[in-house]
Amino acid sequence: MKTRRPEPHTLAGVYALDALTRADRARFERHLARCPQCAAEISGLRETTARLAAAATTAPPAGLIQRAVAAAAQTRQLSPLTRDTPRPWPRHRAAAGTAAGMPGRSSLRRAWPPRVAVALAGAVVILAAALGLAARSTQHQLQQTQAASHAIAAVLTARDATMISAPVTTGGTATIVMSAHDRALVFAAAGLRALPPSSCYELWLMRPGRDQPAAMLPTPRHGMTGPVLASGLKPGDHLGLTIEPVGGSPHPTTPAILQIAL
């Protein structure tokens, strides 16, 4: 029989059901970090929501597992957590590459608001999925894309690689991995709004006085766009995204729908 307990933490059920908005969820997670009792209750409730998931079990579409396995092969696993405190991904990445992080190398990084930090975990997967798709396309267009793939791989594996994710104002999420050392970044996006055939997305390195065209985004595949490489970054640049007539423009002709300080 269930006994009704006092309820100091009434959001446990709501949280276990993911029925909180992102902002509420982040707030509750800060509380969770300080409340082992809540964490234990949530663990228990998650076992029950897992049963709800199991009850919805549906045979997956053909090829799903193969595609996931292929994408995983292109995806670096995260390092194990050594402390309970969740931290944004780039610091773990740095810590995994060297013994003790890299003080002094983060001059280009700025503090991201919590909302963006929350997006980081998802960003990893967006990028991984885009890369998985890219890996498949190389089978068809091996020669053209091989050089680009190498350059992309170089940025992703750079020791100072930093990941930034931000929403695109017209819809979708953009993720970049940047290496200040290589003066290059890799851009990928998920869920960008589909454009009419007369328009396309163009990426810019925006700097005072002159915005530099960086790349045209390819047509999305399965909702994923990219990855594309942009090189020649300079300190102080912003990465911008605009919608331009097909073929691109020498200068942005519409307001930026994404701007990231690099």
């Binding site: 029989m1 709800l52 079990t57 967006i126 399965h222």
Partner: protein, 199 residues
Amino acid sequence: MGEGWLSPLADPGTGQPRGAELPVLLGRVAKGDRAAFEELCQHIAGPVFGTVRAVVRDLAQSEEVAQEVLVEVWQQAPRFDPGRGSPMAWVTTIAHRRAVDRVRSEQRSAERELRAAAHPVAYDDVAETAEANLDAERLRRCLRSLTRLQREAIMLAYYGGYTYRQVAVVLGVAAGTVNTRMRDGLIRLRDCMGAGDED
């Protein structure tokens, strides 16, 4: 239908719960074992895809999200902490969260509220596409032991992907009421359904 896909529940041959294999598999995945990952996928792809499909509805998008979930499982595997729950709870938590994030980012809440009002979420909607399985039968039985408000609040949140405030609007009750009903309902479901692997 899917390739090499296994039911997440008891193996009909041995009666052994397949869930017992998951911690071992996940441990190997955490060390970067790709073959173990493929095998793990065969166990989790059904619940993952079913959960995502229930929330997202659109088939193509569900497939996309399900793939993202599986890759995230690969990526996060080294951070799985067995002290904090079972592998299936961990995996389905990732799946459900990604699914709700997808639908919430795509639709204005007002639209969703309207849609909910027009199409109340019932487990039967989910059961239509789900495989017949032990959990489904048990859930159907256990859902009957909840109050109507508990049941509808949980269905709308879990399979509908609604926030508790949206649920409150749809059901015409205070948000605080929804909080307690969801929690009480889940506890009652837990008591009714048992711990899964042990029965």
